[in-house]
């Protein structure tokens, strides 16, 4: 039950994009087309779950016992960067179909602040192993959900006549505001 609550909280109530403001660069950058949005969403779910688990283990089993907590930032970013590189090489060799699908989105994830942010949030909220695994998955699924919904709306906006100064990023941000408002309705659920 506790885990179901955590999943609902991370997907809807504390949606990583629309309530916590993490990962907004790829949110605006890859949401122009449904295909790229789906690719990015898949890649983020894949990497975020792995990164969340690995950084938790690193923090709990290596940094804390040796009192190296202040190295958290540099340790986490190096782990994420090398994890992304490793996943890319592994997929290229063993699952070429998935690699072709995720393609260029994998390297972009290194600088996706959603990944790094969730790893830091898991530590800050003092979660245990299973909780941080669940939360990482929930946040990633929330990212995917918001990104894919948003891409659908943005494809329609491309067909509409938008005043010139509002075009592109500006109208995208205002649409995201409306999205954020609708996710706001989930507040108080958990």
């Amino acid at each position: 039950m506790e885990y179901i609550e955590l999943i609902v909280a991370t997907i809807f109530v504390n949606n990583i994009l629309l309530a916590q403001f993490l990962g907004n660069c790829p949110f605006l950058g890859t949401s122009k087309k449904m295909e790229t949005a789906a690719g990015m969403a898949m890649a983020v779910i894949f990497v975020l779950v792995m990164a969340g688990v690995i950084t938790w283990m690193l923090y709990a089993w290596l940094l804390t016992p040796y009192k190296l907590e202040y190295l958290r930032t540099i340790a986490f970013i190096l782990v994420i960067a090398s994890l992304v590189q490793f996943v890319e090489m592994f997929l290229k060799k063993s699952i070429p179909a998935l690699y072709a699908g995720l393609g260029i989105f994998l390297p972009l994830i290194t600088t996706n602040c959603a990944v790094f942010g969730v790893c830091v949030l898991n530590i800050d909220k003092e979660m245990n192993f299973m909780q941080s695994l669940t939360a990482s998955f929930g946040y990633a699924a929330g990212f995917g959900l918001a990104l894919i919904l948003f891409a659908g709306v943005r494809e329609r906006i491309l067909l509409a006549r938008v005043p010139k100064p509002l075009q592109d990023t500006s109208i995208a941000l205002i649409t995201a505001g409306v999205f954020s408002l609708s996710f706001y309705a989930f507040r108080g659920m958990v």
Binding site: L22, T73, I77, N112, S170, A176, G177
Partner: protein, 207 residues
């Protein structure tokens, strides 16, 4: 020489001002600007990291092999982020708690990495420092103005200080009958107000 340094500095203040002209690093822009105080604090922390990382990258640009440059940049940036984190924890604890996860997140701020890659890796130390400082100050101005608009609409007053110095307090700017517009300080307001500011910037032609 001196003239080009000034040019490198001032381009960050208007021509390339992040996040309006360079649409990068949006997460802290949306996340911390619930008040002007937080906006300024975040902006100054980012400026420090930008300035130091630009200078160090520029000094080491002949030593860093091209193939591993991104990894090297990230290590350099992360080092300065840790410096900022520790300093703020010691000397500006309330601000540190308010900004929360966004301080370590400077490490993945695309603006910092972007300047290292696009500018500091190709230029000498003084232009790189001017570039970092200019972009940083421009970023601080953007965050401060967005924070000020949101705080004004959301609470009706502006109150705070800059790292414990320069306190300012403008209570009830719109008069006492003003009903605070709560939407502005909440999450959806951040997106909408930034979108409208971007629209306003687009109305002014950039030369």
């Amino acid at each position: 020489m001196a003239k080009s340094l000034v040019a490198e500095f001032t381009k960050g203040l208007w021509k390339d001002i992040p996040p309006f002209r360079l649409v990068l690093g949006l997460c802290p822009v949306l996340g911390v600007t619930t008040s002007m105080k937080n906006g300024i604090g975040m902006g100054l922390a980012t400026t420090f990291v930008l300035l130091c990382s630009n200078m160090l990258v520029s000094l080491l640009r002949k030593l860093i092999p091209g193939k591993v440059r991104i990894a090297a940049f990230i290590v350099i940036i992360a080092t300065f982020v840790i410096v900022v984190e520790q300093m703020m924890q010691a000397y500006a604890y309330t601000l540190f708690m308010d900004l929360g996860v966004f301080i370590p997140l400077i490490v993945v701020n695309c603006i910092v990495l972007g300047r290292a890659e696009a500018f500091a890796f190709k230029n000498r130390i003084l232009p790189s420092a001017a570039d970092g400082l200019g972009i940083g100050v421009g970023f601080t101005l953007s965050l401060a103005s967005l924070g000020a608009i949101r705080e004004l609409l959301g609470t009706g007053s502006l109150k705070g200080d800059v790292f414990g110095f320069l306190p300012y307090d403008f209570a009830n700017i719109f008069g006492t009958g003003f009903q605070p517009f709560d939407f502005a300080v909440q999450a959806p307001g951040a997106f909408v107000i930034l979108g409208l500011m971007l629209c306003a910037m687009n109305l002014i032609p950039s030369k």
